[in-house]
């Protein structure tokens, strides 16, 4: 029996190996570990309630993310490693996207995918600290800002079915398509 096992494991280990894509690391941190500039901004936007802080690391960069709920909406605010505001994202429904932009996005999705299902939509705001703060607290601003839409879909194209993260700008133009690398799930299946 044990000879059989050794032979079997030998065969398995000698098969060609293809490495998986590098996946970013994301982990929870205490608020005291977040940069002061980032904490100050969040306190101005949302002084009382519970905030969850995360660090996202990759080979190229390190960013800080604050997540909270306000008025039934889920917000995610991203900062660079020293606390400079990068962008703010709020979870919305696909129907919340303005009609004209939504139609352009739908048209693009029809062109690119044989079938698709929208899994998640986030409205992304980019602009000055004052603009983003006003958008979060009052949902309007007189400062200039930019709106993008980050959409996660399950799409079927000629390569097969996969999950994608798509970024559309406020004109409904596709800016970026990133395939979502699913983490290994062997330990969940076996």
């Amino acid at each position: 029996m044990y000879k059989l096992i050794i032979i079997w494991m030998g065969i398995v280990c000698s098969l060609p190996v293809y490495s998986q894509h590098k996946v970013e690391r994301e982990y929870h941190i205490h608020s005291s570990a977040a940069p002061q500039m980032a904490r100050d901004f969040i306190e101005r936007c949302y002084p009382v309630q519970k905030i969850k802080w995360y660090v996202e690391e990759s080979h190229q960069s390190r960013s800080i993310e604050a997540k909270f709920k306000k008025g039934g909406k889920s917000y995610s605010i991203e900062f660079d490693s020293i606390g400079n505001l990068q962008d703010a994202e709020v979870l919305v429904s696909f129907a919340a996207i303005p009609d004209s932009v939504r139609k352009l996005i739908e048209s693009k999705l029809h062109d690119e995918y044989r079938k698709y299902k929208i899994m998640k939509v986030q409205r992304q705001w980019k602009g000055s600290v004052d603009a983003i703060q006003a958008l979060i607290t009052e949902e309007k601003t007189t400062h200039p800002f930019e709106t993008n839409y980050e959409i996660v879909i399950r799409g079927v194209n000629k390569k097969g079915a996969a999950l994608y993260e798509l970024l559309f700008n406020q004109e409904g133009t596709l800016v970026r398509t990133s395939p979502i690398v699913q983490k290994n799930a062997s330990h969940l299946i076996y």
Binding site: M1, V23, Y27, K183, N184, H187, Y190
Partner: protein
């Protein structure tokens, strides 16, 4: 959206069901441990080969009133390989073969499976559907239909990353047909896992199995499960 509250509700329900089943004094109880080594190798074109080596070592056995402290004995050794192909964005389908060495004999099992993994907020949910056919020279062939649901929850952040701990809970139902008889097994697993790197992780916890629930000779197995996972 699936929340932490839902996760803990499911845990309470599963624990309650198992304690209700296991609390019967007439049943046979068995205590042991279950070391496992699981190696997954990603191949070209979304194929994956997973091989698992498992030993079941029993330590104590018997009815509750005569629980005997036996010497540890290696009850059986399983070697299983399953080849799967990614189907769609979240599913995999595959087939495999298991050889078991028990009481000096080999038992052969053929496996077919489909699995689906869903990402939820801060956790992942997996469904596994399996059928298998077991050939044993001392018994009639047996046929099983299995469904397993598993939840993994990262303990630090929204997803599991290297150098992080996680919890995993699975619950499986097995329908068994053998010689015109039908029986039912239910299994539950609760483990703490640690992801050492993208390639290696380990888990330790309790694997509870209620076996032959539709017969008079019900058995309850409590196994200390220890698994090493390698992913290449």
């Amino acid at each position: 959206m699936f929340s932490n509250r839902n996760f803990y509700s499911i845990v309470y329900i599963i624990v309650f069901i198992f304690l209700s089943i296991a609390g019967h004094t007439q049943h046979i109880y068995r205590l042991g441990w279950l070391p496992q080594i699981n190696t997954s190798i990603s191949l070209k074109n979304d194929w994956k080969l997973t091989t698992e080596l498992e030993n079941r070592i029993m330590v104590m056995e018997g009815p509750q009133s005569h629980f005997t402290n036996n010497r540890s004995r290696l009850e059986r050794t399983d070697l299983e390989s399953v080849l799967t192909k990614k189907i769609g964005a979240r599913g995999t389908a595959g087939a495999g073969y298991l050889v078991r060495f028990e009481d000096g004999f080999f038992i052969h099992r053929f496996i077919q499976q489909y699995s689906l993994v869903q990402s939820l907020s801060g956790m992942r949910l997996a469904h596994r559907f399996r059928t298998d056919q077991t050939l044993d020279q001392n018994e009639s062939p047996s046929y099983r239909g299995r469904y397993r649901i598993g939840i993994e929850k990262a303990l630090n952040g929204q997803s599991i990353d290297p150098r992080e701990w996680y919890l995993k809970i699975t619950n499986e139902y097995l329908g068994i047909w053998q010689s015109d008889d039908f029986n039912l097994d239910i299994r539950g697993l609760a483990v703490a896992g640690y992801m050492i790197s993208d390639k290696f992780q380990c888990e330790i916890g309790i694997d509870y199995r209620a076996e032959e629930l539709l017969s008079t000779d019900k058995e309850h197995l409590f196994l200390l499960s220890m698994t090493w996972y390698s992913n290449f």
